[in-house]
């Protein structure tokens, strides 16, 4: 059984016990434990069930590569599924639950799949592509629901997240990824030369494997002591920033890196700290010192709990003082795993034997093992593991040829199998942004090709790999490689003082080459009934990869996708290389020919909360508010988003019957504006100043109308098209001076229009002497509309607003009611109307003065909906309603606003094209329904001919539709094919399955056709 050792454990504090709950059971661990080490210390070896077969699974690893031990951690708003137990730091009160089983972890009905598969392997790779097809409806209603419920790992969280997240934006010269000895050396070398260094380590501890490999001496001290010294030195340097619990998730273009710091996962709910912090780093050079991962060996039943990576076994013993078993068998292809045998032996755990796949075993580590009395069997391998929920023993035998076990088989009793198939450099980050790999046949690994690394904005390679990540598995090489990488990185960013920290002497045990062993055995009747797992989490076996290859899924990407190899939450960290070696063997190709699948960010999964950062709830997206916003809110406004603005949709008043409905409010607002006077906050209207000697010439090109002929002090309604000929914005242009114009745009369109003007000015007509400036926010603007409008302004006094002094479509500046104001006599409601603009800081004052002065004349505020209805009554178009990006001014009967005299304007040439100039295009018309009370639905389509069922040929659609309180009937505008030719025609609108609304085509101007009301 697994147990806590009486002593040892470099990172645990035995004086600080920690209580936690596992599947409802109260257990104890120590501070410094991971959930995995604490569970192991409590002899919990069964920690999960696999995806497809629901086979019992335990820990394979001790770090980020762990595929099996995934659990739900936390409660309520802090519950999180799929947490790797190896990455969860133990804390007081932690609750963890295993997942993907029913009814319990020990007895899981889903394991039936495994039983079936052991009789006949029906759940082979891609089996689901070959079945579940009949009857057709069964897929949606039977098969798929069952599959969906069976798949998926943990349960989804139910509540909104209780925690906060934040982002850091950071620049540095050198980013060092990984806090092992290579990374620390690189950081030290870069920092000594004056570079600004950021070094991060994904675990809570600096030092990486140096903490564990106690045989190795650096500078005459233990690895752990040397690491302590380096960390102390680095933390004393002001140009160095250090972070543990900080994983570099991805490398992106031009030295952009994303770091994921788990600030408070180990102290949930801590006040004043975010849970996670996302570091968005721009680095001059990136040093990848991410180490290497050990590979499992695919032998039969290599997934029984108790089969672990040899390095992980060593980690549990030395870092956490936990023995993962009582009697171990070590199975290796290399010298490194002998350290595990020695560590176990040292900790008092029996080692039944070390099975070494190599025929000859000569190195010093094996010699030490032998000297310690451990039996070493050269040329031996594990044929099969015995046991179900825990290892009971192994069948072993002599290896013949390609990993096959021949001859007599023996059985060794044990409860722990430590395996080592060799090491693979962690090349994920190197590869994220285009770094290429090269296959090192001797070392049996893909390593970074320094000639073909990721490149930066200047085309130079901007990433350096070092240490084990660079394929150097020995301590001395890791150190020197790190130092060189650090020096080079600093120098490339302009920091080369020629400082090279003194190189410590390394006493490490030399190691012989490994013998690659991708599959045990690789030939013979292996597949029959036993399973050799590659991808533990997704239950992908060697036989699956071979089947994929047989069926023609020969490309590594096909094999991956067909079998799901490497697609689990560990993204194949332990399985990919074995898988592609087996694939290569099956199709008779070399490993480098097969190549790897693409490495994608993130290295390990990162929370959506961290990606979101602070941008949630009220901070999700900035809101633009006018200076009168709060006043509107106090006045009962219902707001609606218009672009980034919030505008009052209507103002709902309290009445004796309660608060008005939206419809009641809108009706009241319209009638009041038509009969008395209404106030509209028009501050959101876009305002752009266009100034300069060529301003008129420029606007003649930007607008379809002629603007250069506008007289100072006068206003003109203008249309703007894009170069494709389609209308995209409109508004009133005011000539405020000889060479100065003020262009009004739609509320949502101001930024777009301003950018459009600048684009043409800067990239096409750069010789024009024109400046533009957006002043939308600088002015607050109020429309005073209605028969009493003039009276209100006259009451405020200070400016002559009589028709003689300020006729329709003219403009004046003055002091209105004591406020400096610009007054435009323009109308979007069809009423006598003034738009009064004051500097934004005076907006609220203006509004209040107008409301006060207007009181005796019946002034009431109105919102966007009343505005829309009133403009529709007048047949005025609304950008976005009557236009949709495919509509020309001519389509909207606005041909009068398209100058025929001008040689050119933006969109003119486009409007000459065949389709735009064709007859029969959709044109704007008004519609009067036969039943005046019937309001056509927005977007309803007219058809050529009503049929009992679809398809019906449509001839146009309703663009705006309202009940007009002014006219006491419904009104609508529509774009109808050949509309101008259809006056008086009755059109049919099938608005629902069995309902057709009939409407007569009429002039779109429903109210005051002569425009007498605005012109008084």
């Amino acid at each position: 059984m697994a147990h806590r050792l009486p002593s040892g454990g470099l990172v645990i504090d035995r004086s600080k016990p920690v209580e936690f709950t596992f599947n409802g059971q109260k257990l104890k661990g120590f501070e410094g434990d991971t959930l995995a080490s604490a569970l192991l210390a409590n002899d919990q070896v069964l920690l999960g069930r696999s995806f497809k077969y629901h086979r019992p699974r335990g820990l394979i690893a001790s770090g980020a590569e762990e595929p099996n031990a995934l659990m739900g951690v936390g409660e309520g708003p802090r519950f999180e599924p799929n947490q790797r137990a190896t990455g969860v730091e133990l804390h007081q009160g932690l609750t963890a639950r295993t997942q993907n089983h029913w009814p319990s972890l020990g007895f899981d009905v889903g394991a039936l799949n495994s039983w079936i598969a052991s009789r006949a392997p029906v759940f082979s790779a891609g089996f689901y592509y070959k079945t579940f097809m009949f009857p057709r409806v069964a897929w949606k209603h039977v098969f798929e629901p069952v599959i969906r419920r069976a798949a998926g790992l943990g349960k989804p969280p139910k509540e909104a997240d209780a925690d906060e997240y934040e982002h850091f934006h950071v620049h540095c010269d050198v980013l060092v990824v990984g806090g092992g000895i290579a990374g620390l050396s690189a950081a030290r070398a870069a920092a000594a030369n004056g570079a600004r260094v950021l070094i991060c380590e994904q675990t809570p501890h600096w030092g990486g494997r140096a903490l564990v490999e106690t045989e190795t001496q650096i500078g005459g001290m233990s690895g752990a002591d040397w690491v302590r010294g380096e960390v102390t030195a680095l933390s004393g340097m002001e140009n160095v920033t250090m972070r543990t619990r900080c994983m570099t998730s991805g490398l992106y273009d031009h030295g952009y890196a994303l770091l994921y710091e788990r600030v408070a996962d180990h102290v949930p709910g801590a006040e004043g700290t975010p849970r996670h912090r996302l570091w968005r780093v721009r680095a001059g050079r990136i040093v990848v010192a991410t180490g290497a991962l050990e590979r499992p060996i695919p032998f039969a039943n290599n997934d029984v709990p108790g089969v672990m990576l040899a390095s992980a076994v060593r980690d549990y013993v030395r870092l956490w003082g936990v023995a993962p078993g009582e009697k171990a068998v070590v199975f290796t292809t290399n010298d490194d795993a002998y350290r595990t045998a020695l560590a176990l032996h040292e900790a008092g755990v029996a080692v039944a034997a070390v099975l070494d796949a190599r025929a000859e075993v000569k190195g010093e580590l094996p010699a030490r093992a032998r000297a310690a009395g451990i039996e070493v069997r050269a040329g031996y391998g594990v044929a099969k593991v015995k046991g179900g929920k825990r290892v009971k023993g192994v069948e072993i035998g002599r290896l013949t040829g390609m990993g096959q076990v021949g001859g007599r088989r023996e059985e060794l009793a044990c409860d722990l199998v430590a395996m080592s198939g060799g090491w693979s450099p962690v090349v994920h980050l190197w590869s994220h942004c285009g770094g290429k790999l090269t296959w090192d046949a001797e070392a049996a690994m893909f390593r970074p090709d320094p000639e073909r690394g990721p490149t930066g904005h200047d085309g130079a390679v901007n990433t350096l790999a070092c240490g084990a990540a660079n394929g150097y598995l020995h301590t001395d090489l890791c150190l020197s490689d790190g130092r060189v990488a650090g020096m080079s990185a600093a120098s490339a960013t302009g920091h080369s003082r020629g400082e090279m920290p003194e190189a410590p002497e390394v006493q490490a045990i030399p190691q012989a080459h490994p013998r690659p062993l991708w599959f045990m055995p690789a030939r013979g009747k292996y597949a029959h009934g036993t399973k050799h797992f590659l991808d533990y989490q997704n239950d992908v076996t060697a036989a699956d990869v071979q089947l994929a290859a047989r069926e023609g899924y020969e490309s590594v990407e096909h094999a991956k996708r067909y079998t799901t190899l490497g697609m689990a939450t560990d993204q194949g960290k332990t399985s990919n290389i074995n898988g592609l070696a087996i694939l290569a063997d099956q199709i008779g190709a070399e490993i480098p020919q097969v190549g790897t699948t693409t490495f994608r960010p993130p290295y390990t999964p990162i929370s959506f909360g961290a990606i979101t950062g602070r941008a949630r709830g009220p901070l999700f997206k900035a809101v633009r508010k006018t200076p009168m916003h709060d006043r509107h809110a106090a006045n009962g406004a219902d707001f609606e988003p218009v672009g980034d603005w919030e505008r009052p949709y209507c103002f709902r008043r309290m009445t004796p019957e309660g608060r008005e409905s939206r419809a009641q409010a809108v009706t009241r607002e319209i009638l009041n504006a038509r009969q008395k006077v209404g106030l509209l906050d028009a501050s959101t209207l876009g305002k752009i100043v266009v100034k300069g000697p060529d301003a008129g010439k420029f606007l003649d090109l930007v607008y379809t109308n002629m603007m250069s002929t506008l007289k100072p002090g006068r206003c003109r309604y203008g249309l703007m098209c894009n170069e494709n000929g389609f209308l995209f914005d409109d508004g009133v242009v005011v000539r405020t001076g000889e060479d100065e114009f003020l262009c009004h745009t739609t509320s949502g369109g101001a930024d777009r229009v301003h950018a459009h003007m600048e684009e043409w000015l800067q990239t096409e007509w750069w010789d024009f002497q024109v400046y533009t400036q957006q002043v939308t926010d600088q002015w607050a603007q109020v429309a005073v509309a209605g028969p009493n409008a003039r009276k209100v302004l006259e009451k405020l006094g200070g400016v002559d607003v009589s028709d003689a002094a300020l006729p329709f479509m003219s403009y004046v500046e003055g002091t209105l009611g004591g406020l400096p104001a610009r007054i435009f006599r323009i109308s979007f409601s069809g009423e006598l109307s003034y738009e009064v603009a004051v500097p934004a800081n005076l907006g609220l004052a203006l509004w209040e003065k107008l409301a006060e002065a207007g009181e005796e004349f019946g002034a009431m505020p109105y919102g966007t909906e009343a505005l829309h209805v009133m403009r529709a009554e007048k047949g005025f178009i609304m950008i976005g309603d009557e236009t949709d990006g495919t509509v020309t001014p001519q389509d909207l009967a606005l041909g009068w606003a398209v100058s025929k005299k001008k040689a050119d304007f933006i969109g003119k040439r486009a409007q000459e094209r065949a389709f735009l100039a064709a007859k029969g295009r959709k044109q704007l018309v008004g519609l009067a329904t036969e039943d005046p009370a019937e309001v056509l639905p927005d977007g309803a389509h007219a058809v050529k001919e009503v049929k009992a069922k679809s398809r019906m040929i449509t001839i146009g659609h309703v663009t705006s539709s309202y009940f007009s309180p002014t006219l006491g009937r419904s009104i609508a505008m529509a774009l109808i094919e050949g509309g101008s030719e259809r006056m008086g025609e009755v059109l049919s609108f099938p608005v629902a399955k069995d309902k057709v609304v009939k409407a007569t085509v009429v002039d779109p101007v429903f109210y005051d056709k002569e425009g007498e009301r605005q012109n008084v």
């Binding site: 009949f134 419920r149 998926g152 909104a160 991805g250 968005r280 942004c433 994608r600 494709n724 977007g939």
Partner: protein, 414 residues
């Protein structure tokens, strides 16, 4: 071709699966074919299949420089819907969606078409009106789609926050027979069925040149030798411009990367596809349990299939706001695909200035859902010289200004 079935699996399982044959052939290229199709993505393979199936043209080869289905077919977010506004779009996407319905049975390959419903949220008054217009157009066209209320949306997707402070959900356009399919399986299924009908599929075969004489195309040069042909179809999303350049003409397309990501798998929590265009994000859950999330496209040309971060950030923000419970879930993997964008964001299925060369490209962000319909229409065009579905998507629409603009209604992500 051995038929796939539960029975066949059981039978092969007893023999430990050594009896399965290759899903598609691996022939040497012949010196001449009637039709050469460049690009073994979904669209190319579907074209080959329908040429054989609908038109009896089997002397066809599909050339692929990498591995079949390795482009956008295997990189998209697998959404299938047909609730488009414009008639030509509705025509091809609805044809496609209908073909998806029984594609598993037709191909004898389970492509897992799952009509789990597609919901497009309206989060502004403007968007609401746009979807209403689309719903009317769809109903009259014969596409089943309908407007749904916020309350019904909450019932369809219980994890949604319909009262978002910034953009409350005002309604939605719901297409119950839209859904998803297993993207790789679509390519594999078409490849297997086309191969069975006699089509040659040649992988690891890059086209390096296109030969033509005064009458039109005569063949292609490839990394595995020259191949003569009477007709040539270019169906290489993302790289259309490069191939067109070889043939001596240009295309109104630009290649930009599009971003996508998946979460770690969890038990079912969202049953349909939800698209939130105002905030820029869409999400569904795969059968495996991963949340499949679509991000935006980069605004500049690039041919790198890698992920960038800012679009992921924008999309995840939008979805955390829309589905607050995802905050504690994690991003497992992000990637990019190269998409062709045309001037009106609608595809091109057309003859080209070179007689005998046909082009199928410009699917932008919406190609996967169109694979069956696109292959069907393209096969018709190639076999008969014209096709009613392909017709409106001809190249000359750009000369005439006859845009098929689906962004009309709103900023619609496909």
């Amino acid at each position: 071709m051995k038929r796939y079935s539960a029975f066949a699996i059981a039978k092969e399982a007893l023999g430990y699966h050594v009896g399965w044959e290759r899903a598609w052939g691996n022939p040497e290229p012949k010196p001449e074919y009637e039709v050469v199709i460049v690009g073994a993505g979904g669209h190319g393979l579907a074209t080959a299949y329908y040429l054989a199936k609908n038109h009896g043209i089997t002397n066809v080869v599909v050339l692929e420089k990498g591995w079949l289905g390795g482009g956008n077919t295997g990189r998209n977010t697998t959404i299938i819907r047909s609730n488009y506004l414009q008639d030509p779009s509705a025509e091809i996407f609805e044809l496609s969606r209908r073909l998806y319905e029984d594609l598993s049975q037709k191909l004898n390959f389970n492509i897992m078409f799952s009509p789990r419903g597609v919901l497009m949220l309206a989060q502004t008054e403007h968007e609401l009106r746009a979807w209403e217009r689309t719903a009317h157009a769809n109903r009259l066209f014969g596409i089943e789609s309908e407007m749904v209320t916020p309350e019904r949306i909450k019932r369809i997707v219980p994890i949604i926050n319909i009262e978002g402070p910034r953009y409350p959900v005002l309604g939605g356009l719901w297409q119950a027979r839209g859904g998803t399919a297993r993207h790789d399986a679509v390519a594999w299924g078409y490849a297997r069925a086309a191969s069975d009908l006699g089509v040659d599929i040649i992988q690891q075969c890059e086209v390096t040149g296109i030969d033509r004489d005064e009458h039109g195309v005569t063949g292609v040069r490839t990394s595995r030798g020259a191949i003569r042909c009477k007709k040539l179809c270019i169906v290489v999303a993302g790289h259309s411009g490069v191939l067109a350049d070889m043939a001596g003409f240009r295309l109104p397309v630009e290649s930009v990367p599009l971003q996508a990501l998946v979460s770690e798998p969890i038990k079912p929590c969202i049953d349909c596809v939800v698209m939130a265009n105002t905030v820029h994000g869409y999400m569904s859950q795969s059968d495996k349990g991963e949340l499949v999330i679509g991000g935006g496209a980069d605004g500049y040309n690039a041919y790198t299939q890698r992920g960038s971060f800012q679009h992921v950030e924008e999309t995840v923000r939008a979805l955390t706001e829309t589905f607050p419970m995802i905050s504690r879930l994690r991003m497992l993997r992000q990637w990019g695909g190269i998409v062709d964008m045309t001037g009106d964001r609608s595809p091109i299925i057309s003859k080209t200035p070179v007689p005998g060369i046909f082009i199928n490209c410009g699917w932008g962000t919406g190609g996967f859902k169109a694979i069956p319909g696109s292959g069907w229409a393209m096969a018709g065009l190639v076999a008969k010289g014209e096709d009613p579905v392909a017709g409106p998507f001809s190249l000359d629409r750009f000369t005439e200004g006859r845009m098929i603009d689906e962004s009309v209604a709103a900023a619609v992500a496909h």
